[in-house]
Symmetry: C2
Subunit: 202 residues, 2 copies
């Protein structure tokens, strides 16, 4: 873990986000940012991310961030936590490849990130994080306001088997329902009713 | 749908991918690309993407791409298909906001993308697509070789309810097992055993 406060060499100014990222061919680019994000009504698209060695930036270091950081780390991601203080369970989690940026978020902190997670408790800061992520075209989980982000963490059920983990994710736009369905699916996995070993002779 | 062949104003040369994207602050950046991607052993991380109005680029226009394109479009994504020829069901799917780039892939075709999908049938081309996605730090589904990509499409089960869709995604690293478990979960959703309506009085 990098304990020393980190600062980007050249932090982004808000005006830097007004145009398109400079590495994109100018003629083929539409503006990479929109100033306001409409609430999403369409269904979400479930994807399984292969996060090994990918940088995930979490802004905010409280209990929600702690739970999510453990999940990202379990998938092999490298973590950068941007937060003045850390939940004790995050501090325990961080390894030599991870960073703690011990201060409030500034534009540029998503440098190198593949995925962003914001849970600062301050909607204005969460919106700033979402704005930089939008500019970079990387997905951002906004823990305080699902529809102001571009990705959501589904409810999960998991079974460990000798041939690897089976993961079930449930998303319904209603977290309470998603959790209830995931609990049911967890029962199915644990009861042996779900076919976890389909390779047996038929 | 934009039927006229599209070409980036300034296609990327392979050497352009050697460094870091130019819009990232130089001092804070580690090389954005690795030349070879090790097979992933860690568990995948399930995420629900909110793709409304986000550009998804699909390279290859065959049957696999067609199935995936329908799913992306169902989640509200804009599509860019890069392929000399199109599966008939893709052609039917494309709306005025979508693009068909009627030729083979060239570097730069992922401009503006949030997510990439490659299913060209040619491992060398799929690798080129994955390489550009890696450089941009956007996730790439490699339909021909899961571990050479950075994301995978899970098996799915779905229930439509008056209060929205409930989506269950299953990933296990073994597609046959994932599909078998998802079929079981679909039975649970349809039988009424899964608690799709948890808001009733308790």
């Amino acid at each position: 873990m990098t304990l020393a406060p980190y600062a980007p060499a050249a932090p982004l100014a808000p005006s830097d986000l007004a145009g398109s990222p400079a590495h994109l061919p100018a003629g083929a680019v539409s503006p990479g940012m929109t100033s306001d994000v409409a609430p999403t009504q369409a269904d979400s698209f479930p994807l399984a991310l292969l996060l090994e060695d990918k940088l995930v930036v979490l802004v905010g270091g409280g209990a929600v961030a702690a739970r999510r950081a453990a999940a990202f780390a379990g998938a092999g991601a490298r973590l950068r936590i941007v937060a003045p203080t850390l939940h004790p369970s995050i501090a325990e989690l961080l390894g030599p490849q991870d960073e703690w940026v011990q201060r409030e978020f500034i534009l540029g902190d998503l440098t190198d990130a593949w995925l962003a997670h914001t849970a600062t408790g301050d909607p204005a800061v969460d919106a700033e994080v979402a704005r930089e992520a939008e500019w970079r075209h990387i997905f951002c989980i906004n823990a305080g306001n699902r529809d102001a982000g571009t990705a959501a963490v589904p409810a999960r059920a998991t079974a460990h088997t000798p041939t690897g983990r089976v993961q079930v994710a449930v998303d319904s736009g209603d977290p309470r329902r998603s959790v209830a369905v995931a609990r049911h699916m967890q029962d199915e996995l644990e009861s042996g009713r779900a076919p976890l070993h389909p390779r047996r002779r038929r």
